[in-house]
Symmetry: C2
Subunit: 207 residues, 2 copies
C-alpha cells in the first residue's frame, strides 16, 4: 500500500475533509502541519509545492517513487479513489464529484477575503441564511433512502458536506433545521467511529 503525507497549515481549512476521509477509512497518513513562518521559505520549492500552495499530498508508491498531488479538490478526488470513498460505479464517481462541486460553490459565496471582523460576521450571516441555505435545500433532495448522498455507504460527498458544515454552523447553529435529512446525515458522519475519534483527538484550531 502507498504511504501518504498530507501537508497543510495548522488549520482545518481546506485539508480537514481529507483528514476525515483518512479517519473514516482508518488508513494511516502523516498529518504534516507547517507553521506560517516556515511556509514563507518553503512555498517557492515547486518540487514540493507545484502551485506554491497547500494542501499537497505526497504519495510514496510501493516501488519507492514519490508523487505530489496538489489542489485541494484534486486531492479530495484522488484520496476518494484511493480509499474507495467515491462510490462503486462510474456514475457514483460522477455523482460524488458533482455534489462536491455543489458544496464548493456554496462555500465560494462566503466572504473569505473580507478582513474587517464585524463586516465579515455580517456578510457570513447574509451568505449562510441566503445562498448557502438555498444550496442546502437543493442538496437535501439528493439524500437517498439509505440516508447517504451516494449509494448506501459513506462517500466523499457525505464527508465533504459534513466538514463544510463546520464552517457554517458557528455562524448559524440552527442552519440544518430546514434540511432534516442532511441534519441526520451530518450526525451520522460525525458519529462514525473513525471520524468521532478524530474529532475528539484532533488539534484545536480557530478555523
Amino acid at each position: 500500500m502507498p504511504s501518504y503525507k498530507l501537508r497543510y497549515f495548522d488549520l482545518r481549512g481546506r485539508a480537514e475533509v481529507i483528514r476525515w476521509m483518512f479517519a473514516c477509512s482508518r488508513v494511516e497518513y502523516e498529518d504534516d502541519r507547517i507553521k506560517s513562518e516556515e511556509w514563507k521559505e518553503m512555498k517557492n520549492n515547486v518540487q514540493d509545492f507545484p502551485f506554491k500552495q497547500m494542501p499537497v499530498l505526497e504519495v510514496v508508491s510501493d516501488d519507492g517513487t514519490k508523487t505530489v498531488v496538489a489542489q485541494s479538490q484534486t486531492i479530495l478526488r484522488f484520496v476518494g479513489t484511493e480509499l474507495g470513498l467515491n462510490g462503486k460505479t462510474k456514475f457514483d464517481v460522477a455523482r460524488c464529484d458533482m455534489l462536491n462541486e455543489h458544496v464548493m460553490s456554496a462555500l465560494m459565496t462566503l466572504p473569505w477575503e473580507v478582513e474587517d471582523k464585524e463586516e465579515k460576521a455580517r456578510l457570513m450571516l447574509e451568505a449562510v441564511t441566503g445562498p448557502i441555505t438555498e444550496h442546502l435545500k437543493l442538496l437535501e433532495t439528493f439524500v437517498q433512502d439509505s440516508g447517504h448522498l451516494v449509494g448506501s455507504d459513506f462517500t466523499s460527498a457525505d464527508i465533504n458536506f459534513s466538514t463544510a458544515c463546520e464552517f457554517l454552523t458557528p455562524t448559524c447553529p440552527a442552519l440544518l433545521d430546514c434540511v432534516p435529512k442532511l441534519k441526520a446525515l451530518d450526525e451520522k458522519v460525525r458519529g462514525s467511529p473513525g471520524i468521532a475519534k478524530w474529532i475528539a483527538e484532533r488539534p484545536v484550531t480557530h478555523i
Copy 2:
C-alpha cells in the same frame, strides 16, 4: 457504447472544452443548444437539470438507462475518463485534474460579474496581464518534453488550457508570447484534425 447529449446555451462558455474533447476523439454526441427564452421554463426541471444550471450531459448507457451528469468541471472529468483523455495512470489522472483546477482558478480571476462594458474591458486587461500571466508562467513549467502537459498525447489538460485561451487572447493577442511551450501546445491542439474541423464548422457565438 453509450450515447451522449450535451445541453448548454448557444455559446462556447463552459461547454466548449467538452465539445473539443468529443471533437478530438471523433466521438459522436448531440450538441443541444438551448435558447435563453426556453431555458427560463426548463431550468426548474431538476430531473433534467439537477442544479438548475447548464451544462449537463445526458448519458444513455447500453442497457437504455439515462443518467444526467451536471457541473461543468465534473462533466469535463467524466468525459475525460469516458474518452480516454485523462492519461493512462492514476497519477496522470491526478495531474490532468490539478492542472485543470489551476486553469479554472486563473479564469476565476476574470471580472465575469461586471456588467459595465468599459469597466469590464479594463479589468479584463488587468487580470490577463497580471494574475493570468502568472498562472500561465507556472503552467509553462508543466509542459513535458513531449510538448504535452501530461504524458505524450492529448489529454483534457491540453484541451482545457487551449479553450481557456479563447477567453483570454481577444483581450491580449500576444498573451502566449512569454510562454513559448504553451504557445506551441495551443497551436498543436487547435491544429489537431478533429479540433481543427470543429473550429472551422462550429456555430459562431460572441463568447
